[in-house]
């Protein structure tokens, strides 16, 4: 190897040393530097010089101190730029509804929850052509229109889980409402007037019931 070629190789290795030190070197360049470091007595001294440059460059950069309030000023600029927060993507309508529900006062929350409850109950119990908890529903819209019902208002502090469990275990369904003042139309699967009256009494006796008003009774009712 001539002196010129040797110098050229040295130049090339010196050029690659900073990248060897920062760990970004790979492939044939990495192999070449490692081979050089292993074979040339001058290479380790050169590596030491590059490390000194590394320290010098780092110190020169770190001598510059960003302003301490940079983040707070950026946050304000971001708010000015972005305007109202974007809706988080990927969450379901139910999760979003639940989030909104959790953000409102208890009294209002209950009305909102009642709407959700009604949606869930109707979806699960009166799906057209589907099966209810204890009986099959056919031609649901007609059946719902003819179904015996009562108008019910629940207490503001009632727990949704208690109501849901009670309705489910007695075959009762929310088929309408709530009105502006929180009154629900409750479908009552009673075969006769006596059964209807018994169910109304049962609803009225629940701790979460505020008011029950009799509506349409079964056909044989008086």
């Amino acid at each position: 190897m001539s002196a010129a070629e040797k110098m050229s190789r040295r130049d090339e290795m010196e050029t690659l040393l900073p990248f060897y030190l920062n760990g970004s070197l790979e492939g044939s360049d990495l192999e070449a530097v490692e081979e050089w470091l292993a074979s040339d007595p001058a290479a380790l001294a050169a590596l030491g010089e590059a490390e000194a440059e590394f320290s010098g460059a780092t110190a020169a950069n770190e001598a510059i101190r960003p302003p301490a309030d940079a983040l707070s000023r950026f946050a304000k600029a971001l708010d000015a730029e972005a305007g109202p927060a974007r809706k988080p993507a990927g969450s379901s309508w139910l999760a979003q509804a639940w989030g909104r529900f959790m953000a409102v006062p208890v009294g209002v929350a209950w009305a909102a929850a009642a709407v959700l409850l009604a949606l869930v109950m109707v979806q699960s119990f009166v799906e057209p052509g589907g099966k209810g908890n204890d009986f099959e529903i056919a031609g649901a819209q007609d059946d719902l229109a003819k179904m015996p019902f009562a108008l019910v208002k629940f207490k503001p502090d009632a727990k949704m889980s208690d109501i849901s469990a009670f309705l489910g275990s007695n075959g009762l369904k929310i088929i309408g409402g709530p009105t502006a003042d929180g009154v629900f139309r409750l479908g009552i699967p009673a075969a006769n007037a006596a059964d209807y009256t018994k169910q109304i009494g049962l609803i009225a006796a629940q701790p979460f019931t505020e008011t029950v008003i009799e509506g349409r009774k079964p056909a044989d009712g008086g």
Binding site: A42, S55, E62, R73, L78, E81
Partner: protein, 188 residues
């Protein structure tokens, strides 16, 4: 995955979905380096402050289009470089001077006089600062920002071969300056 271990790319994905907390996390991770990078290029901390803020607002705007072809840090430095150049051009400052780039760093005192008062580390820091901008930025990107040859090419929008050439001359100038100051390191 906690915020502390969440990758930059995962955070950019969150930013793309409108997550402001994610952009603030990225700001905390990268702001100081972006700020220093711009300050070193422009020589103005006031400009660095404005541009660094703009870089992260740009991150907010461009996150939905980020394809992950480069590291987030490289992407941010590329944006910072572009914005700094644009601002400097507006100010009609001829900041890249090829003749100056070819010259050994100047100083008010001769290197010998200065280095009599300081050790080698301090001298190196001083010589790095005195490098022409096109050489100093390559030194900064490699040593301080940990960028690879190809990443530096991406940030500066120059070919890989040019990155290597600039690194060669940058290190050569540092060696010459050290030699003139009495620290002969055997190369060049």
């Amino acid at each position: 995955m906690t915020a502390a271990t969440e990758t930059d790319r995962a955070l950019v994905d969150r930013v793309a979905k409108g997550d402001r907390a994610a952009v603030r996390l990225l700001f905390m991770r990268h702001h100081a380096r972006v700020y220093r990078f711009v300050a070193r290029q422009t020589g103005s901390e006031m400009m660095a402050d404005d541009i660094a803020n703009e870089v992260f607002l740009e991150l907010w705007r461009q996150a939905p289009g980020f394809e992950g072809r480069s590291e987030v840090s490289t992407w941010l430095l590329g944006i910072a470089r572009f914005k700094a150049l644009s601002l400097l051009r507006k100010k009609k400052e001829d900041w890249i001077d090829d003749e100056a780039a070819a010259a050994v760093p100047d100083s008010a005192d001769t290197p010998e006089v200065v280095t009599m008062k300081e050790d080698k580390a301090a001298a190196l820091r001083r010589f790095v600062n005195a490098l022409p901008e096109e050489h100093r930025v390559v030194i900064d990107l490699a040593y301080y920002h940990g960028q690879s040859v190809s990443e530096i090419g991406e940030v500066l929008d120059i070919p890989v071969a040019t990155v290597k050439t600039r690194m060669f001359y940058a290190r050569k100038k540092l060696g010459e300056a050290l030699k003139a100051a009495g620290y002969d390191r055997g190369w060049p």
